[in-house]
Every structure is written in structure tokens, then in C-alpha cells.
């Protein structure tokens, strides 16, 4: 029997908290929401988690998402005010020194590539922008991708490669990469199977699998098939092909707003509009081409309103952060009761 135990409830935000993001070292947690602030939480000594810093005045409207650079020195924030802010700590305190403009309306998501040299943003204006980070502090728009037909909800990068993935209100997921010939970014594949908005997505640690979650109340697991794969899956244009190999349906009773796949424990956690946090694990004898995942534990009323975001700590196995419309951020620990 496994169990998710509540460690701490972090209060301070006023109104809906949209997103939580762990520092790559796992020592700090950033959260953001409709109160137009970013709060940074850390441990006092070895136990209690406390609010270390409140970042204000970077945005005019709701802050939808925050994301740490892989080096941990920069924090990017995406806002409904159509801008993305980059915060650094050169002066000793977090300051917003760069504001990225260009999107027509709400920026919904922001993500750094593994190398930290690329940043992606997406917006309700249906576009995905790729920004090149020059000398670690200047940002230049490298590409504007208009492949989606609707509001783009989320962008993430592949854990090792410069491959960008986006999820949209148009029910699809799209993958983008750079063409080495002309340095132009293009859509390499469209993952269609969800029946409503795709809210979020997460790679496993290898980057050969992707989990997506949707308003259609399902989670889907996608498997990458390389050219000349032994399963005989056709790969036109010699590009890898992604196939949906598993659909988790019947577990969630409302929209699934976020999903996180732990690189340390391989567990999947979901944030759902029914206030529940659920944890899934791949079955030990699961066939990679038709994997089975089981619900190993769930917390009913994990929050008193919709759960908006979940994130596994990158260095402490089984430590999960969540946030909700109820204004709270919570920390949970996965325990195995033998």
C-alpha cells in the first residue's frame, strides 16, 4: 500500500494559485496566481517550509505559469498581460530585468530547454514562440509557430533534446524541432487522440514517452518509435513517430489540469478539477507497446477546490507540490507502507 501524506500547507496567495515550479536543485519552490505575485518558498533549517520572497510588479495581470532555468539562476513567468518576464538574482535579490513582448494576448505557458539556450512561450493567440537566449541574458525571437488552430495551453521541452512540445484547446499536441538546413523551426508531428482541450503534458525521464492530460477526463501515454523500429511502425520522412499506447479513462471525474512524471520514481501524478490528486504507476510486467498503468493512491479533497498544478521535486524522491483555486500550495510525500 502506498500513501501520499500531507507535509505542509503553504498559505499566502490571495485567490487562485495557478502553478508551482521546483528549482532544479529541489530546494526552492515558486508559485504564482491571480494575485499577480510570485512567491518563492524554501525550507527553514531542515524542516518547516516558509515563504522566502514575494515578487511583485513584474506583471499587470494574472501570472499563469513560472519556470526555472536549468541552471537555476533565472525564473521566467508567463502572464495574462501578454508578456513573459525573466527574473534574475544578480543584485542579490530577484529582479525582473527582461520582459518579452510579442504575443497578442494572454501568455499561458513558458518553458526552458535542457541546455538553457532556448525558451518557449505560448498564448491564446494560437502561436508558440521560440526565443534564443544570447549570452545568457538577451532574448531573440527565433521562430513564431502558428501550427495550432486554437488557444495553446502548455509548452514543454524534451528532457535531453531541443524538441518542443505544445498542447492546445484544439485537442492536439504538436512537436517542433529546428531544421538544421535553414535554422527554421517546424512542426514534426501532431498527436491527435484527445477529444477535448489538452491542458498539460510531461515526458518520462528517457524522453521516449509522453503523458498528456485533457478536459476529456483521460490521460494518454504516447510512445516514440524511431525509424527502423523492430515493431514495424512506419516512420515517414525518417522522423520518429509517436503513438498513443495507453489511455487511462474512468479515473478522473472532471477536467485534468496538470500532469507530472517523476524522473526519480517514474510515478505519474495528476491534478484534477474534482479536487483529487492521483498517483499512477506502470505495472511491473507491462508490455512497453501496450503498457498498463494502475492507480496506486489518490487523495480525495486534496484541496477544497480544483487542483491546478502538480510537480514532483527533481531531487527528493516522492516529494510532490500542488496548488489550487482555494489559494493554497501543499507539499506531499509519497510513502510506501509495507
Amino acid at each position: 500500500m502506498s500513501k501520499l501524506e500531507l507535509l505542509h500547507t503553504l498559505t499566502g496567495h490571495i485567490g487562485r494559485v495557478w502553478n508551482v515550479s521546483w528549482h532544479p536543485k529541489g530546494t526552492l519552490l515558486a508559485s504564482c496566481g491571480e494575485d499577480v505575485t510570485i512567491r518563492i518558498w524554501g525550507q527553514e533549517g531542515n524542516s518547516k517550509w516558509v515563504n522566502k520572497t514575494i515578487l511583485t510588479e513584474g506583471h499587470q495581470r494574472t501570472i499563469r505559469e513560472v519556470s526555472w532555468s536549468p541552471c537555476g539562476n533565472l525564473l521566467a513567468s508567463a502572464s495574462f498581460d501578454a508578456t513573459t518576464s525573466i527574473w534574475d538574482k544578480k543584485s542579490g535579490q530577484f529582479e525582473c530585468n527582461v520582459t518579452l513582448e510579442g504575443h497578442d494576448n494572454e501568455v499561458k505557458s513558458v518553458a526552458w530547454s535542457k541546455s538553457g539556450n532556448l525558451l518557449a512561450t505560448c498564448s491564446r493567440d494560437k502561436s508558440v514562440w521560440v526565443w534564443e537566449v544570447m549570452y545568457g541574458e538577451e532574448f531573440e525571437c527565433a521562430s513564431v509557430l502558428n501550427a495550432h488552430t486554437q488557444d495553446v495551453k502548455k509548452v514543454i521541452w524534451h528532457p535531453h533534446l531541443d524538441i518542443l512540445v505544445s498542447a492546445s484547446y484544439d485537442n492536439t499536441v504538436k512537436m517542433f524541432k529546428e531544421d538544421p538546413q535553414d535554422n527554421d523551426w517546424y512542426c514534426v508531428s501532431t498527436l491527435a487522440s484527445h477529444e477535448s482541450t489538452v491542458w498539460s503534458l510531461a515526458f518520462d525521464k528517457s524522453g521516449t514517452r509522453l503523458a498528456t492530460c485533457s478536459d476529456d477526463k483521460t490521460v494518454k501515454i504516447w510512445q516514440q518509435y524511431l525509424p527502423n523500429n523492430k515493431e514495424g511502425i512506419e516512420t515517414p520522412d525518417n522522423d520518429p513517430v509517436w503513438k498513443c499506447v495507453c489511455t487511462l479513462s474512468g479515473y478522473h471525474s472532471r477536467t485534468i489540469y496538470d500532469i507530472t512524471w517523476c524522473p526519480l520514481t517514474d510515478l505519474i501524478a495528476t491534478a484534477c478539477g474534482d479536487d483529487v490528486i492521483r498517483i499512477f504507476k506502470e505495472s511491473p510486467q507491462s508490455n512497453p507497446n501496450e503498457p498498463t498503468f494502475t492507480l496506486i493512491t489518490s487523495v480525495e479533497r486534496a484541496h477544497s477546490q480544483d487542483v491546478n498544478s502538480v510537480a514532483w521535486n527533481p531531487t527528493i524522491a516522492g516529494l510532490l507540490a500542488s496548488c489550487s483555486d482555494d489559494g493554497e500550495v501543499k507539499l506531499w510525500q509519497m510513502n510506501k507502507l509495507e
Partner: protein, 214 residues
């Protein structure tokens, strides 16, 4: 608005006020929120085009409202007056906003177009169900002003408050209102531009601007 989309809509009679039973006055009985109560909250929303309420246009009907207090859900179907009504999203948003402000936060509110009553039914429903887009829309000042006009139901309360008794905003008063079926001991706490009425056990109704008589 340059011209009206639906020039002469059908207008229906208003329904009678909810009959009071003895139980309504018994403090020891916990009365759950029911469909009639949701109907009473929504019936006086103004139509964006006509000086009529959603009840009079049969956009809102009591039997199109479902409340489940076990799983805390409220489901409202609304019926646009014409199948190509461009106001459908605005009306749906007004319903959502009013319910957001009046119901306890534990309720999950779903607002949908009555099946078959609108040409873009699916698109309207999907937009109204997307809380992120609703949140962004409600940060739009122009839009929120229009919505405020639609849901400005304060008028219906004004005459019902026994003004002679009101001396301070902190004392408890009995507030009587036919339209909102508020018949409770209440406290009036001052807001920036109006007053809020605090139903003692489970919800707050914010009435803006129109309580100027106080």
C-alpha cells in the same frame, strides 16, 4: 449595439414567489440550496439587448437547473432566444459570474446552452467550461462592465430592506426580499461601492451600487 438581433422576442410571465413553509422559519432545519434558489438568483439577470430579465425571455427556467448537494455541483442550461444569438457567450458568462459571487466556493458550476438551442452550441459550451479563458475574460474591464450591467440585480432588493431599522453596518438585521427569497437574519458589511448581505449559514450575496437608500 447597432441593431437588435432578435427584434421581438417572446415575453413570458414572471413566476410567482416561492411559497413559504413553516420549515423556512425554523432555525434548526438546515436547508440546502436547491434549484429554485439558483433560479431565484439568476432569474433577474438582465438581457443584454432588451429591458427584460432572463426569466421573462425563458432563457432561464427552473426545470433546466440541477443541484446536487452531495457532490456539490450546480448545472444550468440556458436557452438563447434565437439559434444564432451572438450574445450567448455573454449571457453564459453573466450566469457564471453571478453564481461565482453568490454560491459557496465548494460548488462546481457548469453553465451550458440547452441542447439544440444554438448553432454553435459546442463552441459556446467549451468556452464557458474553460476556467482559464473565463478568468482571462473577467480581467477584461470592458467585458466585466457589461456583465455587471447584466447582473445588476440590486434593484429588486432595494425596497425590501426595512430601512428604518438600519443604523450601523455591523448590526444584524432581518432582510426580506421576495425576489431573492432572502428571509434571514443578516449583517450588512460595507463594500467599496455597495453593501454585501451575509446569509448567516452558507452564502454571501454581493449587491453592488443599488443600495443607495442606506
Amino acid at each position: 449595439m447597432d441593431r437588435l438581433e432578435n427584434i421581438s422576442p417572446n415575453v413570458y410571465n414572471k413566476s410567482k414567489e416561492r411559497a413559504k413553509t413553516e420549515d423556512d422559519f425554523n432555525e434548526n432545519i438546515y436547508d440546502d440550496i436547491d434549484a429554485r434558489e439558483i433560479f431565484d438568483i439568476l432569474r433577474n439577470i438582465n438581457d443584454p439587448e432588451h429591458p427584460l430579465t432572463l426569466e421573462q425571455l425563458h432563457v432561464i427556467e427552473e426545470n433546466n437547473i440541477t443541484v446536487d448537494n452531495k457532490i456539490n455541483t450546480v448545472h444550468v442550461f440556458f436557452t438563447p432566444t434565437i439559434p444564432h444569438c451572438s450574445m450567448a457567450t455573454l449571457i453564459g458568462l453573466s450566469i457564471r459570474v453571478l453564481l461565482l459571487r453568490t454560491l459557496p466556493s465548494r460548488y462546481k458550476v457548469q453553465v451550458e446552452v440547452t441542447p439544440g438551442s444554438h448553432a454553435s452550441e459546442h463552441a459556446v459550451n467549451k468556452q464557458l467550461a474553460d476556467k482559464e479563458r473565463v478568468a482571462a475574460a473577467l480581467e477584461n474591464n470592458n467585458l466585466i462592465q457589461v456583465i455587471e450591467q447584466c447582473i445588476d440585480i440590486g434593484d429588486h432588493l432595494t425596497n425590501e430592506i426595512p430601512t428604518d431599522d438600519i443604523q450601523s453596518t455591523n448590526t444584524t438585521y432581518k432582510v426580506l426580499s421576495k425576489d431573492l427569497d432572502l428571509n434571514y437574519e443578516c449583517k450588512l458589511g460595507q463594500l467599496d461601492d455597495g453593501y454585501s448581505i451575509n446569509k448567516s449559514h452558507n452564502y454571501i450575496i454581493q449587491i453592488k451600487k443599488k443600495l443607495s437608500i442606506i
